[in-house]
Amino acid sequence: MKLTVDNMTLERGGEPIVSGIGFELAAGEALVITGENGSGKSTALRGMAGLLPLASGSVKLADETGKPFEGPVREYCHYLGHQNAMKSGLTVHDNLDFWRRFNGHPHLAVEEALEEVDLLHTADLPFHYLSAGQKRRVAIARLLVSDRPVWILDEPTSGLDAPSVATFTGLVKAFAESGGILVAATHLDLGINATRRLEFAA
């Protein structure tokens, strides 16, 4: 599997924010994007996830033989943005269960995923009862309940305490070892020894 981003340019409000970015990631590789606030990290990630139309360039996913995957790339991606994509009225379990069923390709059971982020005991609490960091950890558990070969993560560890960051690093490593492709934007050290590093200048 190979993710190819070629000459990607993204515009916002008619102005180019990210211009002419290109890289190639093979299975098991990770790319960490760093850069100042407002330098376009989130914009770039949204472009890759298909959430923002490309002004030019392309994002492609192909298998080892170079045969492109069927359908748009976004269908193979997990995207974790600044928001957690959870409903405050539903319980933690119901939230994850919904995404598990809606996204398809089920992977871990909800309980197992919660166990991974060490929040199994909160399964039956309404989501809005959780603290900021616990909410983020539930959002990370969403990546585990369905199976996607590409993870696109925007400041995944914001609000996490030190032990949770370590847990997260472990999850990401396991994902990479299983052949996944990771792209993450961050200001903090994720503890991943990324094979690639991209620095944006404002």
Binding site: R74, E75, H82, N84, K87, L90, F98, W99, G104
Partner: protein
């Protein structure tokens, strides 16, 4: 998709205090009219179809803009949009869930409300029927309107400007059909068929427009 349907239904049942609230809202709207118009039974029964339809419209409007706004704010919309499911289908399901929670209970409760408004048996039947056929159209049109508005900074304005004028014909066909059912001189089949056509038409076009809007107005 079933997951989405049940989630959306659960969410609106949950957070609005159950389907009870919807019915209660209608009851409250209906009981306001006699205060304004006077306790004149004959007059009330003439106005009953309009009252019920206005209640339905209002109930649909009250929740419409939140159809996507909340999904957008909490980031769910991004994930909904990224999936393999055809986006128009996702939109259709969201509209359906909205209707099941706000529209259907009203249709089912029409007999009770009809009696209170002194509506004849035939009038009740006609009102319930047109509401059953017509309210989904409001939901579908509303979905498109809500989708247009979701990404735009000043979306609220657009929602009402777009949705209300489109919905007024639905109201008018519905009420004309009821009048047709109750009076010899007025036509019945024509407005009802129009209403059916509008609903079928919007059930395709509404979700499709919503999907296109969401894809193209990504930010």
């Amino acid at each position: 998709m079933l997951a989405l349907l049940s989630r959306d239904i659960r969410l609106s049942l949950h957070s609005n205090g159950g389907s009870l609230t919807g019915l209660l809202f209608f009851l409250a709207v209906i009981s306001v009219f006699p205060f304004a118009i006077g306790p004149d039974n004959a007059l009330l029964s003439t106005l009953a179809p309009a009252i019920l339809w206005i209640g339905a419209l209002l109930a649909s409007l009250l929740d419409l803009d939140r159809l996507f706004a909340q999904d957008r704010e909490d980031g769910s919309l991004d994930i909904l949009v990224m999936q393999t499911h055809p986006l128009a289908l996702t939109m259709f399901v969201k509209a359906l869930a909205h209707w099941l929670v706000t529209g259907l209970p009203l249709v089912l409760a029409t007999p009770v409300f009809g009696i209170m408004l002194n509506l004849s048996f035939q009038g009740i039947l006609a009102t319930a029927g047109t509401l059953l056929v017509g309210t989904p159209a409001i939901a579908f049109i509303g979905t498109a309107g809500a989708a247009v508005a979701v990404r735009l900074p000043r979306g609220g304005m657009l929602i009402s400007v777009l949705v209300l004028p489109l919905v007024i014909p639905v109201l008018i066909f519905g009420i004309s059909a009821i009048r047709g059912a109750l009076e010899e001189t007025a036509p019945f089949t024509a407005p009802l068929l129009f209403l059916c056509a509008v609903t079928l038409f919007t059930s395709v076009l509404g979700p499709l427009a919503a999907a296109i809007m969401l894809r193209h107005s990504a930010d």
